[in-house]
C-alpha cells in the first residue's frame, strides 16, 4: 500500500456515515480520550498523547490497509465516536473496536457503526475478528454480545488484562437469524417510535 494510491473508504448506514479521521474531528476525539471515559482504552491521556494517538489512527490505515473510521451523523455531520479495525504491533489478531462519545451513548449508534464496519471487513477478506475488552467495561461487553460475539477463553489476549470476544464468522452473519436480529435492533433504534426501556446502552 503506497501513499499515492491509498484512500480511506467511506461507509454509509441508515443514520450514519463513516469516514477516515480528519483534522477537524480531533477536538471531539481529544475531549473523550482525555476524559475518564477513556479509562478502558488506555486513558485518560494528556493532550500530547491524545494527539499522538489520533495521528497514529490515521497512519494505521496506511500501514495495515484498514483502521478506525470516524462516525458522523449522515444529516448533520456531527461526530459520535469511532469504529473499525485495529491492529497495532502487539495485537495477536485483528480487532474490531469502537468508542462512542459519552453524550451519544444509548442510541444504538455504536452497534450500527460497528455492524457496518464488520460487514465491510468480512466483504473485503477478513475471515475472523476479535474484540479485546477490559472486563470492567460492561457497556462494551454488552455491545460485543449484541453483535453476536462470544468470550473466547482460548484466544491470546493483548496483555492478560483484557478479555477476548470472538465475533461470529462471515457465514454466521450471512442471512441468518443472528444477522436479522442485529438489523432489527438497529432499525428499532433508528425508528422514532421506538423508546428504549431501562439503562442506556451503547
Amino acid at each position: 500500500m503506497s501513499a499515492a494510491d491509498f484512500s480511506i473508504p467511506v461507509i454509509e448506514t441508515r443514520r450514519l456515515i463513516l469516514r477516515g479521521p480528519e483534522p477537524e474531528d480531533y477536538p471531539d476525539f481529544k475531549s473523550t480520550f482525555t476524559s475518564y471515559r477513556a479509562r478502558f482504552m488506555g486513558g485518560p491521556l494528556n493532550a500530547y498523547e491524545a494527539w499522538m494517538l489520533y495521528a497514529a489512527e490515521i497512519g494505521h490505515w496506511q500501514i495495515r490497509g484498514f483502521g478506525m473510521w470516524m462516525i458522523h451523523d449522515k444529516k448533520t455531520d456531527e461526530t459520535y465516536g469511532m469504529a473499525g479495525g485495529w491492529k497495532p504491533a502487539k495485537w495477536p489478531e485483528a480487532e474490531i473496536a469502537w468508542v462512542i462519545w459519552p453524550e451519544a451513548a444509548g442510541q444504538g449508534l455504536a452497534l450500527e457503526a460497528t455492524h457496518a464496519a464488520r460487514k465491510y471487513f468480512y466483504k473485503t477478506g477478513w475471515d475472523s475478528a476479535v474484540s479485546y475488552i477490559d472486563p470492567k467495561n460492561l457497556d462494551s461487553i454488552r455491545l460485543a454480545e449484541r453483535l453476536g460475539a462470544v468470550k473466547d477463553p482460548d484466544a491470546a489476549s493483548v496483555d492478560g488484562n483484557d478479555v477476548v470476544y470472538r465475533h461470529p464468522s462471515p457465514a454466521a452473519l450471512n442471512d441468518t437469524q443472528l444477522a436479522h436480529g442485529i438489523d432489527m435492533e438497529i432499525s428499532h433504534y433508528a425508528d422514532p417510535l421506538f423508546k428504549p426501556k431501562g439503562y442506556a446502552i451503547d
Binding site: 503506497s2 497512519g59 504491533a89
Partner: protein
C-alpha cells in the same frame, strides 16, 4: 494526503511506510534513542511510525524517511514536526543506527528547512535538543542555528531550543558560512 518527495545530493526524502518499521524499531529500541523519547518497545515504535504518517494528514507537513540514493537504505527520520503542545514548528533529525557521522542529518535537515521556508512559508524554525545530545547540537550548529533558551516538555523533559536563521538570512547566503 500526498507526501512530497525531496531529493538532495546523496539522499531521497520520502513518505514513511510500513516497510520502514524494522530500522525504525531497531533505532527506537536502542540506547541512542534516549534523547528522542526512547527507548521504545516494538509496540511503541509501531505506533510512533503510524503517528509520523498521520502527522502529515493532521498538519500538512511531517517527517520523511531519508534513504540513500545509491543503496536505498533508510538512514533516518528527518523533517518537520509539531504535535499538540509543541512550542513551535520544529525541524528534527533522528539518524538510524550506523548512519551517524556522514553528514546525512545536516544534508536532509537543510532540505527540510528549505521546504518549510520556500514551500510552506514558515517565517522561522527551531530544533529541540536534549541536554547531552552533542551530535544533534552539532548538526544544529552546522545548519547555522543558535541557542535560544530552553523549554521543559511534559513527556520529553528539558530541551535546549536552537533557532534557525530566518529565510532572509539564508537568502543572503548566510548558510554558506557554515557549510
Amino acid at each position: 494526503m500526498l507526501i512530497p518527495t525531496l531529493t538532495t545530493e546523496r539522499l531521497i526524502l520520502r513518505a514513511p511506510e510500513a516497510r520502514d518499521i524494522a530500522p525504525f524499531a531497531e533505532f527506537y529500541a536502542s540506547d541512542r534513542a534516549r534523547f528522542v523519547g526512547g527507548p521504545l518497545t516494538a509496540e511503541g515504535s509501531w505506533r510512533m511510525l503510524a503517528m509520523e504518517i498521520g502527522h502529515w494528514t493532521l498538519k500538512g507537513f511531517g517527517r520523511w524517511i531519508a534513504e540513500t540514493k545509491d543503496t536505498g537504505e533508510a538512514v533516518g527520520l528527518i523533517g518537520l514536526f509539531e504535535p499538540e503542545g509543541w512550542p513551535e514548528p520544529e525541524i528534527g533529525w533522528d539518524l538510524f543506527n550506523g548512519f551517524e557521522g556522514k553528514g546525512y542529518a545536516t544534508e536532509a535537515g537543510q532540505a527540510a528547512r528549505s521546504y518549510a521556508y520556500d514551500i510552506l512559508g514558515w517565517p522561522t524554525a527551531i530544533s529541540l535538543v536534549k541536554p547531552g545530545n552533542d551530535g544533534s547540537a552539532a548538526v544544529a550548529t552546522r545548519l547555522g542555528a543558535y541557542a535560544d533558551g530552553s523549554i521543559t516538555h511534559e513527556r520529553h523533559g528539558p530541551m535546549q531550543v536552537y533557532r534557525h536563521p530566518a529565510p532572509v538570512e539564508l537568502a543572503d547566503g548566510g548558510i554558506e558560512a557554515y557549510s
